[in-house]
Amino acid sequence: MENETAPDATHQLLLALAGRVDDDLLAWARELVAVGEHAHAAELLTASLVTDRAVLPEPVRAGLADAARAAHTGLDAAATLPPARPEDGTAHRFEPGPAADAVSAALLALPVRQLQGCRVLLTRRVTPAGSAPGPLPHPVVLVEVEVRTCPTDVLAYQLAVALDRAGVRASVEVLIAGATVPAYHAEALRNAHPIRSFEIGDSFLAAADTPVAPAPPAVENAQAAAIADSRVPTRAANPELAEPRRRKRFQQVAGSAQPAAATSASNEQLPNTRRRSPARAQTDDSLTTHMPNLAELIAATEDGTGQTAATEVPAAPHRATRIPTVRSSAAEAPVAAASVPADSLGRDDRPLAPPRRPAGPLNAHPALPSPSPRLRRCGPVPADRPPLPITESTVVQPAASARFDAIEPARRDQEPLPAPEHGRWPASAHARTPTFTPLAELQTDPFGITGVAQAAEPGVAPPVPAEDICSHRLPTEKERPPTRPVGRRAARHRSAGETEEIPRTVDHPEDAPPASGAVAPDEAARPTTEAEGVPETAAEPSDPSLRPESLARMLLARLQGELLEGRRLRVSRRAGIADGSAPNRSGGRKSVVPRPRGNPPDSAD
């Protein structure tokens, strides 16, 4: 029973033993066979028949003996069973019984998927079966399967369990339509009345959509016929149909060459495929070969659209509409809140999003979502993360800069080290120069990045090369426009010309430069000088006439600022103990770090 032909042999043996053992034992044996315990089933059947001294016809007796021998039951059925005796018909009698009762209702309530491609009949046996029979009449459910979609014993087991759970006690006999059946089943079929019938191909979708309500059998058959007419043959109807269907669909996706005329023509073929006869339904695999459009029809039906697969296939236009949709939803995310609402300019660069998106899940560092590294590096400045001014300014802001703002943090997250940013700083700075120009024209700091925005004075593209002097620090901040706290540091090294026109709204007093054009530098030099030596570069050109925008002067001013800063730092460190107005960095380091003990501050410089 464990060989290749075991399922068929076991099924035939169980069919032949129907009516010779009690119905519970037969159902139990079917369950055991369904779960693969053929040996246990053979043991029980053999033991029961041997105990009952059942007289069997020769084929059944031989089959049972073979099964018992193959299962190593230890029961020699051939020796212990009474001699075989030929039979003429069956001693059992059946009657159709009432048309509608609990068994019929339970059968009608079964999921359609279970009975797909089946014809269900019901009869009642009025003669006892086995040595310990149950009450009579005993309902017997006959299921005729047109195409063997699943093992018959499995189907019988599943239906028996479903009926048992419904509180109905009945036997289930699954027969292959057109095959020779034992006399027991032939007699049962002669006295059975149909309950429901489904052709191959219908009812799988119906099972999901429309639960079958209990109804009189005749009505149910009509409903089933109606459902069969309105449904498309599905993959579940014939598993062999699925694979060519998928292949067809993929071929269409690759080629996208199925003309619409062909799909419409195949749509017209649809009713024909549904109304095929049962005999034709058994050759579904050949059906696909004769109907090349059937696969795509079914694929389109699976999609739930009424369209064919060819209409869905065109990849390019579909993506053109689908990707912006994704991007728009992503733009609503908090991370991309600073990005500009999608416009025509921004849409050109939208394909940049896909490479950025997998960076999150593919990132091996779990603590590297886009905002986290920036906050860590720039210190706890939570207020700059939701940049409200940005959204206000993005109304006019070019999309390229906005996209840069949205995309760049993610890149930075993947490249937390500033070294590669230094390397690419000059090129990227020049490339972004046009994008910063409109920002400077607005004379605002739309990103809240004072340092970067300050450098964007209308006609001043040169500030970028001017900062090459301190490119060890500035490029990183320049590369990250969204990082406002970084921008504050950058402001220390801004020239006066850069800082004066930027309306500083930053709450830091050191970063707040005078917004009054040419008069400001003198006044601005004092607070910055008081605060820390950083903005001293802006304070150097004390004379307004000495504030040209030329590069040479700015370089000179910066050099002088560096000199002053170094001088001041030395002084401040010496006198830093009493300097309460020292800036955060120098004062903080002085007040916190007692390192100068082992490392003198002068020598440290």
């Binding site: 009690d22 519970d24 034992l25 139990w28 246990h40 043991e43 029980l44 053999t46 033991a47 029961s48 041997v50 105990t51 009952d52 039951t73 230890g74 029961l75 212990t80 040595s131 310990a132 029979p133 149950g134 009450p135 006690r169």
Partner: protein, 204 residues
Amino acid sequence: MTQAEQACHDLLVRLAGRLPDELLWRLRDWLAAGGHIALGAMLPRELLRHRVGLTDEERELLVAAVAGWGASQRLLDAVLPAHAADEPDVTFRPGADGVDQAALSVLAVVRGHPGAVELRQGWRSGGRHEQRIVLVLGAERPWTLTGTLQRLLRVHGDRTPCVEVLPPHGEPPAYHQAAIIGSAQLWRSTAALVGTTTSWTGGG
């Protein structure tokens, strides 16, 4: 042969609640029907299949029952040992006061069986549905009475009849003690109390 059947019956009584009902009633039915070869082949296998351990006393009963019925010695040796019988976690209740057709049929059979002393009926809960438990105290050839009552109950719709025919004396196993406590008496023969030859040999 009678001793083997008696031993097998005693063992099958002790296996109540330890083997599935749908199997146990068949084993008892085979015993009643004289299916010794079937029992010799199936009983050790089912004990092994369901990992039922037997005490020493139960093992002696097993050997006494099926060793002469063609049971494999290897299978008998493989049966798991146990220090004490498992006590199934089930509860019993007497049920409704009324007596149904099945109980009346059982009563009709038990009254006429030689040696029967008492008939009780209870309902066991703990599974998917309540199961009728028929208790008969004292009967000659208890395995035959068990088989008869089981088939009778099956005709009345009980798919897994549980008929426990116990000796009138002795201490029954814990399962049957609980069943006796949680059951209702249907019939009792005062005249048959004396003369019962079968005695309970187990200690539970």
